[in-house]
Assembly symmetry: C2
Homo-oligomer: 215 residues x 2
């Protein structure tokens, strides 16, 4: 990917000065193609066995937002109503079903050896094919949270602000998003737009209290 | 935090060129203070209700690595044995127990109003105090994965490479790390060091197949 893709390419600023913005300029629009580009960039995140157990639903129209009001907790209405776009990050518990196909393609493209391919097929694949729903959901949750984290950073690198939220009825969200609730699980929503508030300067604990050492 | 903290401050390079490095130069050392600094920087990640439900165990000595061999799957021995340091990211399911204390401090420091404080205490706090173990673990998993994602990026910004792995016996890991397994849950391990291999150029799916729109 091109190195010169970001308006704000200052990593320290992008990461260290990121704060959760909850109220956005409701008149401000972001082109849907740019939203898709941000998602593609965030997908450079790693995932367990490169399964990429994530899916994204973009909501950037008043009509789509209206459909989600019933499943959104009122305290998250500002994030739903004022953002230029909300990207719902879902976890895909069926991602292993395309596993064989994708890794075979890597091998054909010369990215991995035939030996590596057979190793993958004999070790990781049976693990997922025989996994419990709980295991698949845990993996998809980890993958989804990591790609969501990158999306929050990418939003800033594009000159916007963002916020992660999960104040929705989790049991009803996936269906409200018109996706298969047997396959997908909610991870979090990322609202992106032009800030219309000064965010809370939320503190962090002293890291010393959060670190242990095993000598 | 200072803006000029990173050797590599090129966000596009840090994020888009990040690949999972599994074999490191085993002779290469990173000062433990720098590991702690990287963790502190990664902790700029957001968390549900700013609970920061994460904890970190640094393993950077041969003796500590040796203690973890029994709980590590052999296919992850390179990540364990050759990294300068492994940071085990744990989820903290008791983080809400310091909730009242921390938010009261924010209020005293003028970061949030008394009104906001009372709102937090009457809405979010009971949610966590009455939450199921499953809910607390889900929240801690999301928080932990997000901070781990930032740590992977921070490692590159410090000029190192890294890798996230979870090939350990999850039921035994926390105890092996000398932490309370009733309180902490394993999220993932982040190995950091100087690369001693050319990582796999792992592909990503065409994003179009991963994006839906709700109009």
């Amino acid at each position: 990917m091109s190195e010169q893709v970001f308006i704000n390419n200052d990593f320290a600023d992008v990461m260290l000065n990121r704060k959760s913005v909850r109220r956005f300029d409701p008149e401000f629009k972001i082109d849907r193609e740019e939203i898709k580009e941000m998602i593609a960039q965030a997908c450079s995140a790693p995932s367990a066995c490169n399964l990429q157990s994530w899916h994204f639903v973009i909501v950037d129209q008043a009509s789509g937002k209206e459909k989600l009001k019933d499943v959104t907790m009122p305290f998250n209405y500002p994030q739903l109503e004022t953002a230029s776009a909300i990207v719902f990050v879902l976890g895909d518990t069926h991602s292993h079903k395309v596993y064989r196909e994708v890794w075979t393609k890597y091998c054909q493209e010369g990215r991995i050896s035939e030996e590596k391919l057979q190793e993958v097929f004999s070790t990781f694949l049976p693990l997922y094919e025989n996994a419990s729903q709980e295991f698949l959901e845990k993996d998809a949750t980890l993958d989804g949270a990591m790609v969501a984290m990158q999306l929050l950073l990418v939003a800033r690198s594009h000159g916007y602000e963002a916020n992660a939220w999960a104040g929705y009825k989790a049991a009803d969200l996936v269906t409200a998003l018109d996706k298969d609730s047997q396959r997908y699980i909610p991870i979090m929503a990322i609202s992106i737009g032009k800030a219309d508030e000064t965010p809370i300067d939320s503190a962090r604990y002293d890291t010393e209290s959060l670190i242990s050492v095993l000598d």
